[in-house]
Symmetry: C2
Subunit: 313 residues, 2 copies
């Protein structure tokens, strides 16, 4: 479909020179897959992602196997990829999960918090403060072990039960996670409703309240098609960590091939067009996502994957 | 999927207060449909779009029926919608097309130029300068009749044969169309490869070369998922006319439901989140696109339509 030399590289003013992509396809992308994906396929997926130049690849979750059956093979999977020369964060819901991750030598972990009471209740069956209290010893122990900790904050821009989420409430949760010792926070638009002004306002308020941009990542979903515009606004604010999912894996449960997560390829297309370094080889990444789509038996929701893998046919 | 009050309205600095959406679904969106869409369905589509608050609705094309069979009913269709209280531009490829449009009372027309030799050759079988020479008397006569003229400039950001398109070449075509008398230009990213820095650079260069922002519209395709991020960049530059297609109609020929045009609903979601007035009722627009998707027998590629029409089920 496209000729060589596209996208044309034309930098915009005041954007970062480099962006670190936090690749979530193997964990966030796969966790809602109904059919079990073989552990070997997951390991191969992660290896191919690393080979495509991604340097931070969230590998799996040490959640209780009954909660997320798709990731019940974490103990088998992690050692198969542990020697890759990339960062391999893993999700840990509690102390037990952290124990399992540490026992396998994980050096980066992530906790998954909520910005709203409703989602804390639905996802963790706890109040917001109770859930933060559960994370505190997890984060402290990880830090004592010299392990880097990321704090996911979900529902930062809207909640399916509550609707709009007050900004000060998001800030409160972010500050609590920072105070515990989280090295990095990922601001999640779990239902994909954010727009650029909302993103900029939250980032500014976090800065004012003592949370600097360099510890913030953004995690946008494309449910309403807003993910890349929101990312661009975040880059303008100075954000340099962006979460994305190879091939756009992690679809909404209600529509085949409807996207959930921002597709890494669509992000890379924009960043490379802007002259922003990612270290990613887009061709290899597209090939990886096309391969994974074959494994899952349905087309990738990433528009760039569709456009470029068509070209190769 | 979403609760009330979403998206939250949070304006960003230095954006326009109001954006005029140039709705292209009925013309650009339908023209590549293989099966003939009944004229009554097209008329009803346009009526519903007007009822949803769109004020500029490109209705059809007075191209030779053999070229675009789907729009061969222009003479039947136009009178059915001509009394709607909205602007109804129509495409005219040449003097004959202009004659037909004027005979029916059209008060706005558009010509369709190319920024590249390859596309001029492929689309019109003429050189770039020959194609501009064909448009000149068309534009002059339309202006003499007091009719507003829009000039589409396709392949502004990339061309499937030539790859990257030199900016000065795009500027040359834009200036030529302005010099002929075009009131407005629509900068088309026909193959969807642009990124925000590229958009900003072209807009700046056009301004420097005497083409002001207030005569420029942007027309992005979502082939690589970039359309809304590019639109946001254009808004930051001061652009207030944005082309979009209800439901994202106008898919790429190679993939069912793959999007071509920016979906009007995804655009409206962003604009309303930014507090930018459009006059559009998003709920009515979504219902219109869901209805049209039923007529065409396949789901809308607009993410907002999918998300919100699911909610209504």
């Amino acid at each position: 479909m496209t000729a060589e030399g596209l996208p044309m590289t034309v930098p915009a003013q005041d954007l970062p020179d480099r962006v670190r992509i936090h690749e979530v396809g193997a964990r966030d992308g796969l966790q809602n897959e109904k059919s079990a994906v073989p552990t070997e396929v997951k390991a191969e997926f992660i290896r191919r992602l690393a080979d495509a130049g991604l340097t931070t690849i969230e590998a799996t979750s040490f959640v209780h196997p009954a909660w997320v059956p798709q990731l019940a093979d974490a103990e088998d999977l992690f050692p198969q990829v542990a020697d890759l020369p990339v960062a391999l964060p893993v999700l840990v819901p509690n102390q037990r999960g952290l124990d399992r991750a540490l026992a396998l030598g994980a050096r980066r972990v992530a906790v998954f918090a909520s910005a709203t009471e409703s989602f804390a209740k639905a996802n963790l069956n706890r109040t917001l403060d109770e859930s933060l209290a559960v994370f505190e010893p997890v984060v402290r122990r990880a830090k004592d072990e010299g392990v880097q900790v990321r704090g996911y904050v979900s529902m930062c821009f809207g909640d399916p039960w509550e609707g709009a989420v007050p900004l000060h409430q998001v800030v409160r949760v972010c500050r609590a996670l920072r105070d515990m010792g989280c090295d990095e926070l990922s601001l999640g638009d779990t239902i994909g409703v954010a727009t650029p002004g909302h993103v900029l306002e939250l980032l500014s308020l976090l800065n004012e309240e003592g949370v600097p941009t360099n510890v913030l990542g953004v995690h946008f979903h494309d449910t309403y098609g807003q993910a890349l515009a929101n990312t661009y606004a975040a880059l303008e604010h100075g954000v340099t960590t962006v979460d994305a999912s190879a091939g756009g894996l992690g679809g909404c449960p209600y529509a085949k091939s409807a996207t959930g997560n921002l597709a890494t390829e669509d992000l890379v297309w924009m960043l490379h067009g802007l002259g922003i370094d990612t270290g990613v080889d887009l061709g290899r990444l597209v090939a990886t996502s096309a391969w994974m789509a074959d494994q899952l038996g349905r087309p990738s929701p990433s528009r760039t994957v569709r456009a470029l893998s068509h070209k190769d046919q």
